[in-house]
Amino acid sequence: MALEKQTEMTQSDTDALLGRHETGVLSLARDDDPYAIPISYGYDADDRTFYLRLVSTPESEKREFLSSNPDARLVVYEEDEPTYKSVVVTGTLTEISRDEMTVEHVEQYGEAKRPLFEIWGEAKPDLDIKLYELRADTISGRHIELSERHD
């Protein structure tokens, strides 16, 4: 498929896209090892902050990546032929510990309703769910119109 047109999305477009989705793929880098995981999030456009839920099983390598406040990249995309939109967020991930949880956190996470348990077929008590805040350094969106349709 040939690319016909690729444009930068405006900030209000990227905010709208991020607001109507609640799952994405989070990529973490540690040294030269990349790691990508599905997450669910709530997005606060005013603070440009994401409230993430991450699930790990006790032996998963994710935990190692998460132990050192890594640089993170979050990708959220949508496809509605012939339009493809993707938003890439870069920022720093910080764990929110249980004892610093506030009413505001509870409200922000209320926006991220998609149950992660649907992604992970394990019994809930066996999963280790951690809450993270991702403060965005950059948010950039691309909007691509594909020239050929096959319907």
């Binding site: 506030t102 009413v103 509870v106 996470y109 209320g110 149950p115 992660l116 809930k124 008590p125 809450l131």
Partner: protein
């Protein structure tokens, strides 16, 4: 001592347990469990100072 204002929250879905104040309890009932997103009712809360 504000112990009488504290509750122990135990999420019936994920098993998370936290001590919360009344404002936090209301927020959890309204928004669901902060950890797993499951709905929460007031039954998930018990006063911290309940005798055994």
């Amino acid at each position: 001592m504000t112990a009488s204002e504290e509750f122990t929250f135990v999420c019936p879905s994920c098993g998370e347990s936290m001590e919360v104040n009344p404002a936090m309890r209301d927020a959890l009932v309204e928004n669901g469990c902060v950890v797993c997103g499951a709905s929460v009712t007031t039954e998930a809360f018990s006063p911290v100072d309940t005798p055994e």
